[in-house]
C-alpha cells in the first residue's frame, strides 16, 4: 500500500539508531538551574521571584505578559540565587531565574489535580495556560492560544504529530512507546476541547513499534493511527495536514482556516499533566545524540538544565565537537558552547564531529533544479534566494518568499552548497521589516 505523504521533500539518513532503542532516563538534577523567562513564541514571562527566596517545584517564578504568553515555573525546589541576564540558546543574554536545588525536589502544595468530567472547555484551556504548556515539537507556540480558535472557525479534524521527521531525534518516538496513556489522555482532552469529529495520530512508518502499540491502545477509541511515508519534512504542520487530509493550508493562513488543528504528541502529554494533575510544564524528553557524544540517550530533563550537565550525564564527548546543535540537524540552532540552558523547545542536543560538518565552498548555481524538486512548498528556492541576496525584495516576495517554511530541504540538496534557506530567511526578515516600517 502506498503510504500517505506530501509532494516534494528529501530523504536524509535518519540516524535514529543511535538512540531509538534507549529507554527514557531521568536526568539527575544539576548543581544549578538557569530558567530563561523567554522560551516560547510571544511575549516573554517576567520574573516574579527575588534573590534569596526559596521556591518549591512547580511554583510560578515568571508571570505571563499578554495573551500569547505563558508563565514559567520552578523545575525543582530550592533557593533563587540570581535573577539576571544569562546566555540564552537564541544567541544573546536574556533574563533568567537561577535556582540552586535543595535536593528535596518537593512539589508545590498549590497544585490541584482536576476532574476532567467536571471541567468546562474554558477551564481546561485556562489550566493549560497556567501550566505554561507550549508546542513541544520545537516551535514552542503557547498551546492555549491554539486551543482557543475564534468561534466561527470550527475544527473538524484534530491531528496529533508523532512524525518526528528530523534525523537523529527520538524523543517523541520513546514518548509514544513508554507513555502512551498520558498521550492518549491528552488526546481525549483536546478532542473534548475542540469537539473534533476526526482525530488522527500521524506517525512516520519508520516507527512500526510505536504505530503497533498506539493502534492496540486505541482499539475501540475514535482515534485513527495513520502511518505516513518516511520523508522530511513530513512533520511540518502544513505538510502533515496535506498528507492526512489532502488539503492545503492557504498561503498566509492558519490550519484552522480549513478546520484543522495540529498538536505534537508530547504537547498532548503535557496537557494531560496540566489538566489531570495540575502539574506545570517543568520537564520534557530530550534526545542527546550525535557522533561526538559518548553515550547517546533519551533523557527526561528539567527545563533550565545547562547543556554541559546533559553532556556529562551522557558520558562526555568523544572528541571536540564540530557543531553543537539544539534541536534536529535540519532546523536546529547552533550553539557556541554548553553554557546555555535547555528550554521547553529543546527536543534534542546534537553533537556533530568536525568531519560531519560540510565545509564545501559555495559555488555558482548550475540550475540543476534539485531545490525546486525538493521544496515542499513548491517554490523556486534558487530564484528567491538570488533575489533576496540582491535585496530585490519585491521580486522575492512576488515569488512567494513569505511562504517558505525554512525546512532547509533546498540547502540540503544543493550541489553547489549555496546557503539557500539562509538567504531566503534573510529575505523574509527584510520583507517583514519593510512592511512594518511603511
Amino acid at each position: 500500500m502506498k503510504l500517505k505523504t506530501f509532494t516534494g521533500g528529501i530523504h536524509p539518513p535518519d540516524n535514529k539508531q543511535w538512540s531509538s532503542h534507549k529507554a527514557i532516563e531521568d536526568c539527575p538534577l544539576p548543581a544549578e538551574f538557569v530558567v530563561p523567562m523567554a522560551q516560547h513564541i510571544g511575549a516573554p514571562a517576567v520574573a516574579s521571584v527575588e534573590v534569596g527566596q526559596s521556591v518549591s517545584k512547580g511554583q510560578e517564578i515568571g508571570s505571563a505578559k499578554g495573551f500569547v504568553s505563558v508563565p514559567v515555573h520552578a523545575p525543582t525546589s530550592g533557593e533563587v540565587v540570581a535573577v539576571e541576564s544569562r546566555p540564552h540558546p537564541w544567541g544573546t543574554s536574556l533574563p533568567a531565574v537561577v535556582i540552586k536545588p535543595d535536593g528535596e525536589d518537593c512539589w508545590s502544595t498549590d497544585l490541584q489535580p482536576g476532574d476532567p468530567g467536571s471541567l468546562t472547555v474554558d477551564e481546561i484551556v485556562e489550566k493549560v495556560r497556567l501550566a505554561g504548556v507550549v508546542g513541544m515539537g520545537g516551535a514552542a507556540f503557547p498551546a492555549h492560544v491554539k486551543m482557543s480558535p475564534p468561534p466561527e472557525k470550527k475544527i473538524s479534524t484534530l491531528i496529533f504529530n508523532g512524525v518526528e521527521c528530523e534525523p537523529y531525534l527520538t524523543a517523541d518516538h520513546r514518548m509514544m512507546l513508554e507513555e502512551p496513556e498520558r498521550i492518549l489522555q491528552g488526546v481525549a482532552l483536546l478532542q473534548y476541547v475542540f469537539g473534533a469529529e476526526r482525530v488522527v495520530i500521524g506517525i512516520e512508518a519508520n516507527k512500526p513499534d510505536a504505530i503497533a502499540l498506539l493502534e492496540k491502545e486505541c482499539a475501540g477509541a475514535p482515534v485513527e493511527i495513520l502511518s505516513l511515508q518516511v520523508k522530511y519534512p513530513q512533520g511540518a504542520e502544513k505538510q502533515l495536514i496535506a498528507a492526512v487530509t489532502g488539503r492545503e493550508v492557504p498561503s498566509g493562513g492558519l490550519p484552522m482556516d480549513i478546520g484543522v488543528a495540529v498538536h505534537n504528541i508530547s504537547t498532548a502529554a503535557a496537557v494531560a499533566d496540566a489538566v489531570l494533575f495540575g502539574r506545570p510544564l517543568i520537564e520534557r524528553v530530550c534526545t542527546v545524540t550525535g557522533p561526538a557524544i559518548r553515550e547517546p540517550k533519551n533523557l527526561r530533563i528539567r527545563i533550565g538544565t545547562p547543556l554541559s550537565h546533559l553532556v556529562e550525564v551522557c558520558g562526555g564527548l568523544t572528541e571536540d565537537p564540530g557543531k553543537i546543535v539544539l534541536g534536529g540537524p535540519m532546523m536546529g540552532f547552533t550553539q557556541l558552547d554548553f553554557d546555555v540552558p535547555a528550554t521547553r523547545g529543546t527536543s534534542g542536543l546534537l553533537l556533530l564531529r568536525d568531519e560531519d560538518v560540510d565545509r564545501q565552498e559555495e559555488g555558482p548555481c548550475i540550475r540543476c533544479s534539485r531545490c525546486v524538486q525538493a521544496c515542499p512548498m513548491h517554490l523556486l528556492p534558487t530564484t528567491i534566494a538570488a533575489y533576496s541576496r540582491r535585496d530585490l525584495l519585491a521580486e522575492a516576495s512576488e515569488y512567494c518568499a513569505m511562504d517558505c517554511i525554512e525546512c532547509g530541504c533546498c540547502s540540503y540538496v544543493c550541489p553547489a552548497t549555496i546557503p539557500l534557506v539562509q538567504a531566503i530567511r534573510y529575505g523574509k526578515a527584510a520583507i517583514l521589516a519593510k512592511k512594518r516600517s511603511s
Partner: protein, 331 residues
C-alpha cells in the same frame, strides 16, 4: 572549549553532493560513446576528442586568468563541454577547426556571460553552430565508419540524413534502402558526428545518469516523443518523401541531443512543467528544420532556439505554490 566552533544557519547536514561530483558522473556517462567513436573512426576520433577537451580546459584557464578570477577547471564543467563538442564534430575535423571550436565554446559560449551557471546557451552547441555556418565544407565532410581491424582508410561519404535530404531535393523521393539499416544505425555503424552515431552507447551512458538521478525523464522523453509523434504524421501522409520515425530517431544527433545537449541544466528550465515545454519545443523544431529547413539536421538549432526561450518558459511555468490557487503570485 579548546577550539573554534562552527556556528551556522540550519540545516546542519548536507546531502554530500557537489557540482564536481555531478560533472564527473556526466563525464563517465560519455565514456561508452567515446569508446564506440574511437572503435569506428579510429585515431581521428581520438584526436578530435583530445584537442577539444584540452582546448576547452586551456581556454577556461586563460579566460579566468585574464579576468582575475579563480581557476575552476577542477569542477569538470569545461571538460564536459570539450567532450560534448568533440562528439558534435565530424571525425575528420582538422585540428584547427576543433581547437577553434573549443575556444568559441568556452570564451564566447560561457565565459563572456560570467562562467559556469550564467551562460544562456549550451556552449558546445554554440561552437558547433558557429563552425557549421563558418566552415560548411569541413563541417559536412563525413567519413564512413571503419572499425578497427577492417583495414580500410576513412572514406568520405554522406550521413543518412544528408543522403535523404539530397535525394528528396533531386528527385522528390527518398531512396528506400536508406530505411533498411536500422540495426547499423542503432549500433553506430553509419556516418555522422563522432558522438551521434551510436544510439546504444549513448543510451547506456544515459541509463547511468538516470540511475545516479542526475538525469530526469522530462526533457529526453518529451523531446524524443515529440519527434516520433510529429514525424509520424508526415510519414503517414507521404511515406515516399518523408522518412519513418525510427529513421529520425536513430540517425543524426537526436539521441545525443535529447539526452546530453538538451538536458544541460544551466540552459534549460528549472521547473518540471518548464522542462516538458522545453522538450516538446525541441522536438517540434527538430522535425520542422529537418523536413523543411536548409540543413539536413535540426537538433542543434532546435536546442539553441529553445535555450533562448528558457527565461520565458521559466517565467510562465512556475509551480503552483502550496496553499495558493495561482502560480507563484500571491495577493
Amino acid at each position: 572549549m579548546s577550539k573554534q566552533l562552527y556556528l551556522s544557519s540550519s540545516p546542519h547536514i548536507h546531502s554530500g553532493d557537489s557540482t564536481s561530483k555531478v560533472m564527473r558522473a556526466v563525464l563517465y556517462s560519455l565514456l561508452p560513446a567515446c569508446a564506440v567513436a574511437v572503435y569506428f573512426f579510429g585515431p581521428a576520433a581520438l584526436t578530435v576528442l583530445l584537442i577539444a577537451t584540452l582546448g576547452c580546459l586551456a581556454t577556461e584557464v586563460v579566460c579566468q586568468r585574464l579576468m582575475g578570477q579563480p581557476v575552476t577547471i577542477a569542477d569538470g564543467s569545461a571538460a564536459i563541454t570539450g567532450v560534448l563538442l568533440a562528439l558534435n564534430l565530424p571525425p575528420s575535423s582538422p585540428w584547427w577547426l576543433t581547437l577553434l571550436g573549443a575556444v568559441i565554446a568556452i570564451a564566447i559560449g560561457k565565459q563572456v556571460y560570467g562562467g559556469l551557471g550564467s551562460n544562456p546557451f549550451n556552449p558546445a552547441l554554440v561552437a558547433r553552430v558557429v563552425l557549421l555556418i563558418s566552415f560548411p565544407v569541413q563541417m559536412t565532410t563525413w567519413s564512413s565508419p571503419t572499425p578497427f581491424g577492417s583495414g580500410l582508410d576513412l572514406v568520405t561519404t554522406a550521413t543518412p540524413l544528408g543522403e535523404w535530404k539530397n535525394a528528396v531535393m533531386l528527385t522528390g523521393q527518398m531512396p528506400p534502402e536508406l530505411q533498411s539499416g536500422m540495426a547499423d544505425y542503432f549500433l553506430g555503424n553509419m556516418a555522422g558526428c563522432i558522438g551521434e552515431v551510436s544510439a546504444l552507447a549513448l543510451l547506456l551512458g544515459a541509463g547511468y545518469l538516470f540511475y545516479k538521478r542526475i538525469l530526469t525523464w522530462h526533457i529526453p522523453a518529451t523531446f524524443v516523443g515529440t519527434v516520433v509523434l510529429f514525424s509520424s504524421v508526415f510519414w503517414l501522409v507521404n511515406p515516399d518523401k518523408y522518412p519513418n520515425p525510427l529513421f529520425h530517431l536513430l540517425t543524426g544527433g537526436l539521441v545525443l541531443g535529447a539526452f546530453y545537449m538538451a538536458t544541460d541544466m544551466v540552459t534549460t528550465p528549472v521547473s518540471t512543467k518548464g522542462m516538458l515545454f522545453f522538450g516538446v519545443g525541441c522536438g517540434v523544431l527538430t522535425v520542422l528544420i529537418r523536413l523543411f529547413g536548409g540543413y539536413p539536421e535540426g537538433v542543434s538549432f532546435a536546442i539553441l532556439l529553445m535555450n533562448a526561450a528558457t527565461p520565458l518558459i521559466d517565467r510562465y511555468s512556475r509551480p503552483k505554490t502550496f496553499g495558493t490557487s495561482r502560480q507563484g503570485v500571491r495577493s
